[in-house]
C-alpha cells in the first residue's frame, strides 16, 4: 500500500479569537549557552544556531558568559535611544492617521534589534538596514527633523521627494539607503564587505532583513558569497514571527531556526533573544570581532515580536490574536532594560517617566521644526525639476526636454 504524499500547509498556533500560544518558541535559560572564542570552527559551535542566547533573566539580572561589559552610561544611552525610537514611532503613526504623511512603519517591540547591534559596530562600519531599523538611524545621529522631513517629502527631504516615508539614508554616518524591495540589500552588504577586504581596510558591514524576507533568493546569494569568500559581514534576521499576514513558518522557520541556515552554508548561526539588549549587543559584538579579525561572516537570528501592525496599510486583527504581543515570552525590550538598570541601582521609575516626557518633547519640538520646511499640503514645496535629477549623473537630453515640457505646462514656474 502506498500512501499519497500530502502537502504540509504551515499553521500559526493562534488566529483571531484564539488564546495566544508561543509554545513553539524554544527558550533557553539566561546564561545557559556557552560563549565560544570568536575564532571557533563552525562545526564546533552549531549549538548556537538552535539554542537561544539570553543574558537577562526573569529578575533582570545579567547572567552567564555572554553578559557584556557595558558600563551604565552606555546602557542608559541604549535605553534613551530605544525610548526615543518608540516616541518617534508613536508620533509619526498618529501623524499618518491625520493624513499628514502618506505611510508609516513602526518598530514597536523590536527596538533592541537595532540599538543593541548598532552599539556593537564602529562608525566606519557600513549598515544596510531594513525598513524597521529606524533605531539604527537614530542611534547614528540622524536628526529627527531630517527623518521627519523625509517622511513629509518636504524641502528639507534627504530624498528630494522621491521616496515614500521611512526610506531614509545617511551617507555621512554610513547607513545605507533603504530599499522597498525585500532582501536586495543582503548581498549588497556582502559585496560592501568584500570591497573592504579587497581595498585592505578593516571595516565590516552588517545588514538586517525580516524572517519572511529569508525566502527570497537574495538571502541565499548573500550567504553563498559571504561563505565562499569569508567576507567580513554580519547578516541579521529579525524574526518577529510575522511577515504581514503570514507567520514565520511560511519562510521555513517551523522545522529549523533561521540561524541554522548559517552552518548549512559554513558560517556560524546564532539564535538570540531579540528583546534582551545585552544579548543583542553581546552577540553582535562577537560577530563583529570575528569578522574584523578575518574570521568571516555570521548569521544572527533575533527572536522578537512585531508589536504593531505591519504598516499603516495593514490590519493585524484579521489574522492574529489581538493581545498576542502581551503573551510573548520574551517581553518588551524597553521594560526589560529598565528592569535591569533598576536592579543595578542605576535607574528608577520616576527617572524613566521623566525620560519619556523628555523624549516626547524632543519629538514634538522636531515636528514643529520639520513642518516649517513644508508638508504635502502646505508650502514651501519642492521644486518639480528635482524629479528629473539624479536619474543619471548628468541629465541626458531627453530628460531635459521632458523637464522643460513639464515646466512650460506649469507656466514656467515650479
Amino acid at each position: 500500500m502506498t500512501k499519497n504524499p500530502k502537502l504540509h500547509i504551515p499553521q500559526p498556533t493562534a488566529r483571531p479569537g484564539d488564546p495566544p500560544d508561543f509554545s513553539y518558541i524554544d527558550l533557553s535559560e539566561a546564561g545557559a549557552i556557552d560563549r565560544p572564542p570568536t575564532d571557533a570552527a563552525v562545526r564546533d559551535i552549531e549549538y548556537l544556531a538552535t539554542g537561544l542566547v539570553r543574558v537577562l533573566d526573569d529578575d533582570h539580572e545579567a547572567k552567564g558568559p555572554w553578559a557584556p561589559d557595558l558600563d551604565p552610561e552606555t546602557l542608559l544611552k541604549a535605553l534613551e535611544i530605544m525610548v526615543l525610537t518608540r516616541a518617534y514611532d508613536d508620533r509619526m503613526l498618529r501623524i499618518q492617521r491625520q493624513g499628514k504623511i502618506s505611510f508609516y512603519i513602526q518598530a514597536l517591540g523590536e527596538e533592541a534589534v537595532s540599538v543593541g547591534p548598532g552599539l556593537a559596530f564602529e562608525d566606519g562600519d557600513m549598515m544596510f538596514p531594513a525598513y524597521r531599523n529606524q533605531g539604527l538611524y537614530i542611534l547614528r545621529n540622524t536628526g529627527l527633523v531630517d527623518m521627519m522631513c523625509q517622511c513629509l517629502s518636504n524641502t528639507r527631504d534627504m530624498c528630494k521627494g522621491r521616496q515614500m516615508p521611512i526610506f531614509y539614508h545617511n551617507r555621512e554616518k554610513n547607513v545605507f539607503s533603504i530599499s522597498g524591495n525585500l532582501t536586495t540589500q543582503f548581498p549588497q552588504a556582502v559585496g560592501w564587505a568584500m570591497g573592504a577586504a579587497i581595498k585592505g581596510d578593516d571595516h565590516i558591514a552588517a545588514s538586517w532583513i525580516g524572517d519572511g524576507s529569508t525566502a527570497e533568493a537574495d538571502f541565499h546569494h548573500a550567504l553563498t558569497f559571504a561563505a565562499v569568500y569569508n567576507a567580513p559581514v554580519v547578516l541579521n534576521v529579525t524574526n518577529n514571527q510575522w511577515a504581514i499576514s503570514t507567520f514565520q513558518g511560511f519562510a521555513g522557520g517551523e522545522r529549523q531556526s533561521f540561524a541554522s541556515r548559517g552552518p548549512g552554508y559554513g558560517m556560524p548561526g546564532i539564535r538570540v533573544d531579540g528583546n534582551d539588549l545585552l544579548a543583542t549587543y553581546a552577540v553582535s559584538r562577537w560577530a563583529a570581532e570575528r569578522a574584523r579579525s578575518g574570521g568571516g561572516p555570521t548569521l544572527i537570528e533575533f527572536v522578537t515580536y512585531r508589536g504593531g501592525a505591519h504598516s499603516t496599510s495593514d490590519d493585524p486583527t484579521r489574522y492574529r490574536p489581538k493581545d498576542e504581543w502581551k503573551a510573548f515570552p520574551l517581553g518588551d525590550p524597553i521594560e526589560r532594560l529598565i528592569g535591569h538598570l533598576e536592579q543595578l541601582g542605576q535607574w528608577s521609575r520616576s527617572q524613566q517617566e521623566s525620560l519619556e516626557v523628555k523624549m516626547k518633547e524632543k519629538v514634538s519640538a522636531a515636528w514643529k521644526e520639520a513642518i516649517t520646511f513644508g508638508t504635502m499640503t502646505d508650502p514651501p514645496f519642492l521644486d518639480v525639476e528635482l524629479m528629473f535629477e539624479d536619474v543619471f549623473e548628468e541629465t541626458p537630453q531627453h530628460l531635459k526636454e521632458q523637464r522643460d515640457k513639464l515646466l512650460a505646462m506649469r507656466g514656467g514656474r515650479s
Binding site: L7, I9, R15, S102, F103, S153, D157, C159, K160, G161, R162, Q163, M164, F167, S179, G180, N181, L182, G212, S213, A215, E216, A217, D218, A243, I244, S245, T246, F250, A251, G252, S313, D314, R318, Y319, M376, L382, V384, L386, M387, F388, V391, H398, L399, Q402, L406, M409, R410
Partner: protein, 333 residues
C-alpha cells in the same frame, strides 16, 4: 473591480478542479488588496496557497504545477516586486512551448497590481508592461474596468499560453478620470461596473472601442482609458477611444480601421516613454495607416524617471496633459 477578480477565481475554481491560486498573503488573509478573500475557506488550503516571499519561487513552482496539469493563478503582490521572478518568466515560462515543440507548456496566469496614483512611491507604482510585451511568448493584458477584468481573467486562466495580467490598483475601487482633486467615485455608476455573476469571457487579443468618434483616435489602456475619456470631453473633440486591453498579441485591425477613419492618433499610457509599449503602438499605426494620417502620431506618457513620491501628480499623465496632447494632434497637419 476587486469583486470581479475574486469572482473570476471563484467561477474557475468551481468549474475546474485544476485551477489553483498561489501568492503572498492571498490565503487566510485574502490578499493585501482582498482579491482572493474567502476563496481559501471555500476551496481549501491546497488550492488557495499562501506562499513564501519569493517571487521567483512563486513563478517557478507555478510553472511546475502547470506542466503537471494544473492551471495556476499566481499573484505577485505588486508589479514592482515581480523582478525576482523575471528569469522564470523570460527564460522559462515564455519559451517552454517553443523549446519542447509543444510537448511541454505551462498555462500559468500571473496577476499583479500595477500603476500609480496611490502615493506609493517608486516601489508601489510601476507600470512595467512594456518589459513583458517584449519577451515573445507571454500574453500581456492590462484591464481598465470590472466587466473586462472578470472576463479577461477567465480567458487568461483558460488559455494554454502564459498570461501576465496587470490590474491598475488606482482603479480597483472605481474609475479615475485623472483629476486628483476630485473625490473618488465607485464603480457603481459606471456601465462596465456591473459584472454578471457566472461564467463569461472577454476574448484575449481583442481591443475595444470605448467611444466612437471621428476627430481623432486615442489608443490607450488601463487607468488612462478613463483619463482619456474625460480629457476628450474637456478638449471638446469627438474622439474615438480604443482600450487595447490585450497588449500582446495586439489587435492591429481595430487600431487600423479607426485611425484610417479619423486620420489622427494619440497614444497614451502611464508607463515611462522610452521604449515603452506606446512606441510599438505608434509603429504599428504608422505602418498600417501612414497614407491616411493627417498629423504625426503623438504620445502622452509618464516621464522617463523612477516614479516619484512627492511629484506624483506632476509625473502621472493627468487630464491636462491628455488635453494638451489632443490639441497638439488636432492642430498639426
Amino acid at each position: 473591480m476587486i469583486q470581479a477578480i475574486r469572482s473570476a477565481h471563484d467561477v474557475m475554481m468551481e468549474r475546474d478542479a485544476t485551477v489553483v491560486a498561489l501568492g503572498q498573503d492571498i490565503g487566510y488573509f485574502g490578499g493585501v488588496f482582498r482579491c482572493t478573500e474567502g476563496l481559501q475557506k471555500k476551496y481549501g488550503e491546497h488550492r488557495v496557497i499562501d506562499a513564501p516571499i519569493a517571487e521567483g519561487g512563486i513563478i517557478g513552482t507555478a510553472i511546475g504545477m502547470g506542466v503537471n496539469g494544473l492551471r495556476p493563478v499566481a499573484e505577485i503582490q505588486f508589479a514592482d516586486y515581480i523582478y525576482p521572478g523575471f528569469d522564470q518568466i523570460v527564460s522559462e515560462l515564455s519559451r517552454l512551448r517553443y523549446r519542447s515543440c509543444g510537448d511541454f507548456f505551462a498555462p500559468v496566469t500571473i496577476r499583479t497590481p500595477c500603476g500609480g496614483g496611490i502615493r506609493g512611491g517608486q516601489t508601489h507604482s510601476q507600470s512595467p508592461e512594456g518589459i513583458f510585451t517584449h519577451i515573445s511568448g507571454v500574453k500581456t493584458v492590462m484591464v481598465s474596468n470590472p466587466y473586462d477584468a472578470k472576463g479577461l481573467l477567465i480567458a487568461a486562466i483558460e488559455s494554454n499560453d502564459p498570461v501576465v495580467f496587470f490590474e491598475p490598483k488606482r482603479i480597483y475601487n472605481g474609475p479615475f478620470d485623472g483629476d486628483p482633486d476630485k473625490p473618488s467615485v465607485s464603480w457603481a455608476s459606471h456601465p462596465k461596473g456591473e459584472v454578471p455573476e457566472g461564467y463569461y469571457t472577454v476574448p484575449l487579443g481583442k481591443a475595444e472601442i470605448i467611444e466612437k468618434g471621428t476627430d481623432l483616435t486615442i489608443v490607450t489602456y488601463g487607468t488612462i482609458v478613463h483619463v482619456a475619456q474625460a480629457a476628450a470631453k474637456k478638449a471638446g473633440v469627438d474622439a474615438e477611444i480604443i482600450d487595447v486591453r490585450t497588449l500582446m498579441p495586439l489587435d492591429v485591425e481595430t487600431l487600423r480601421d479607426s485611425v484610417n477613419k479619423t486620420g489622427r492618433c494619440l497614444v497614451a499610457h502611464e508607463a515611462t516613454r522610452f521604449c515603452g509599449y506606446g512606441a510599438e503602438l505608434v509603429a504599428s499605426v504608422q505602418k498600417e495607416c501612414f497614407w491616411h494620417l493627417e498629423a504625426p502620431i503623438s504620445r502622452v506618457t509618464g516621464w522617463d524617471t523612477p516614479y516619484p513620491h512627492a511629484f506624483e501628480w506632476q509625473y502621472f499623465p493627468v487630464q491636462q496633459r491628455l488635453v494638451d496632447g489632443i490639441r497638439k494632434v488636432m492642430e498639426a497637419g
